[in-house]
């Protein structure tokens, strides 16, 4: 079970505002986290607490394929992203690096900035502890659950490949 306060954004949050390209001359998660969301919300890095949950509208993570975007969000301490919809490259990047995400339009619309939210990743249940309302996200298909269970694509491939000689 994940628990944290909601940090809410709108529609079409693109990877350029999640982590501007001027910081992509490094791949260090901590350095990336220091600039996460900077162009849309300069206060983000000060207000985010470990475990917080990012909530957004449609097409979250659109734009570039930079994995630096979910890496920056994860390294900021965000435990899960709930959105109405995700852009597809961001979606697979998040799954691949083991950053939990949930598509749940109703919850994404209802939850307000600052609400306390609890998420059960195995059942897909989302509870807004501030309002008492609960929601259910569609569960991941079995293959993705396997990926998530393995801890991301690196671990999944490791298991499948064994050790290369």
């Amino acid at each position: 079970m994940i628990r944290g306060k909601a940090i809410k954004y709108g529609n079409n949050i693109d990877t350029d505002v999640i982590i501007p390209a001027r910081y992509l001359n490094t791949a260090d998660p901590k350095e990336l986290a220091a600039h996460c969301m900077e162009d849309i919300d300069p206060e983000f890095k000060n207000k985010v607490q470990p475990g917080d949950i990012m909530v957004a509208g449609t097409n979250f993570g659109c734009g570039s394929s930079r994995e630096h975007a979910p890496i920056a969000i994860k390294a900021s301490g965000i435990s899960c992203i709930i959105a109405e919809t995700f852009a597809r490259i961001f979606y697979r990047n998040a799954i691949n690096i083991g950053l939990p995400i949930m598509e749940c339009p109703e919850a994404a619309r209802d939850i307000k900035d600052g609400d306390q939210v609890a998420v059960d990743l195995t059942t897909g249940e989302i509870a807004n502890l501030t309002t008492g309302k609960t929601y259910k996200a569609a569960p991941f298909p079995p293959f993705m659950q396997e990926l998530i269970k393995a801890g991301g694509l690196v671990e999944y491939v490791k298991e499948r490949m064994g050790t290369q000689e």
Binding site: I40, N59, S65, V157
Partner: protein
């Protein structure tokens, strides 16, 4: 129910007779691609996977094109990681500065993609090769790492939207206007998780460069891929550039599409996408006077030879507006050389533009033309998000090379007709 072009290619590469939308599959890839931003992360993950070698030295392509020629020490270090990896893994298609071009212009030019291929690239504009009738899509670095190790990638089989093209484009109207028009029509998530399939008799009048531009920006509508049916023009291009074996896939007659749009090319006007979304499109009857500070002609979207020819045709005999810094970036060394031989570079320099070596540089706010606070650029690039080309309070207007060149002369967003009639 029949299959779309994309579904057929994916089925064949997954060793299946049939796939359905939504199905998750493991498919073999014909090419895996990365650049200087995404590859260092991929190489780190590749090593974490315990992989010792790449699955095929011929099928991995590394192109340091984003922050190159190295813009600072950190970028130089990232490029060094790739260079050493390429050497250790004996990767045949590593393109050093001097050979390097913007990846999505370079790879078709080198004949590395042919119809029927499955290509993944750790760069969102990998969808460009759909112009050749290949399935190609952008992924992240970890996907790139896994594919370098195993030769496979996981996909969710997409549904498709069909665009049936008819008619011909009017004078000055280009592939860029077509794709901006479509994104304006369906929105930045209008094709989310789906293929955009282009077909119809109007296709024949579109050059391969137009098709590359259209497929390139499929991602800007949220699409997984954009793909054109293969025709004589495709095959002519393939014969000229590649010796690889290709396979033509056609959609089944009873293939199911989530939507079908008929697009009359002759009805598409010159189109400009205003800040801060590619879908925020306007036509010249609604644009008005918008002074600008910079013009960029280049990128994986519009840095090809035909783009430079159009820009030169408009700039010839003119001077760029004294307020406008005009930056022309041929997308590959070969395009650069051709442009030089044809006298295009001379026209640009005489007009007061600068000509740069190939780089993605300004498109993503890397280098070679960053905007200050409050500045505006007309760019032939593909994204106009907040802060994309520099300061968070700068603005990017996306347009065709013709509109960009005309705007460079007048100092405001202008149609080519205002300059050359």
């Amino acid at each position: 129910m029949g299959m779309t072009i994309t579904q057929k290619i994916l089925a064949a590469h997954a060793g299946l007779d049939k796939v359905e939308p939504g199905q998750l599959i493991m498919a073999n890839v014909d090419l895996v691609l990365g650049n200087d931003i995404t590859s260092p992360v991929a190489i780190r993950e590749f090593k974490r996977m315990g992989a010792k070698r790449v699955f095929d030295k011929k099928k991995v392509v590394l192109v340091p094109d984003h922050f190159t020629p190295n813009k600072d020490i950190k970028s130089a270090e990232q490029c060094k990681v790739i260079r050493e990896f390429a050497r250790d893994m004996e990767i045949e298609n590593y393109f050093e500065v001097g050979q390097m071009g913007i990846e999505h212009a370079l790879i078709p030019e080198k004949g590395l993609v042919v119809p029927g291929d499955v290509v993944i690239g750790a760069d969102s504009h990998t969808c460009t090769y759909g112009a050749l009738g290949a399935f190609s899509t952008g992924v992240g670095s970890t996907d790139m790492a896994a594919a370098m190790a195993t030769g496979q990638a996981w996909f969710k089989v997409p549904e498709a939207i069909k665009f049936v093209l008819k008619g011909r484009l009017n004078k000055w109207v280009s592939g860029k206007d077509v794709i901006l028009h479509i994104i304006g029509m369906i929105g930045v998530d209008g094709a989310l998780y789906q293929s955009m399939e282009f077909t119809g008799e109007g296709m024949a009048s579109l050059s391969m460069d137009d098709r590359f531009t259209i497929a390139n920006m499929a991602i800007e509508a949220g699409a997984k891929n954009g793909i054109f049916e293969v025709d004589d023009k495709t095959l002519e291009y393939v014969k000229e550039h590649s010796t690889k074996e290709y396979k033509i896939y056609k959609a089944d007659e009873d293939a199911e599409y989530s939507k079908v749009f008929e697009i009359d090319l002759s009805s598409i006007p010159l189109t400009v996408a205003f800040p801060h979304l590619p879908s925020n499109t306007k036509t010249f009857d609604e644009i008005g006077d918008i002074p600008i500070d910079q013009v960029v002609i280049g990128s994986c979207t519009n840095g090809r030879l035909s783009d430079l020819r159009i820009a030169a045709q408009i700039l010839k005999g003119h001077k760029v507006h004294p307020r406008v810094r005009t930056i022309v970036i041929p997308a590959t060394q070969r395009i650069y050389l051709e442009a030089m031989r044809e006298g295009l570079l001379e026209i640009f320099i005489e007009a007061g533009a600068v000509v740069s070596t190939p780089t993605c540089g300004p498109c993503l706010g890397g280098h070679m033309g960053i905007l200050a606070k409050g500045e505006r650029a007309v760019a032939t690039t593909n994204r106009n998000f907040v802060g994309r080309m520099g300061h968070v309070d700068s603005e990017v207007y996306l347009a065709s090379p013709a509109v960009a060149a005309a705007s460079a002369i007048t100092g405001k967003i202008s149609s080519p007709e205002e300059v050359v009639g």
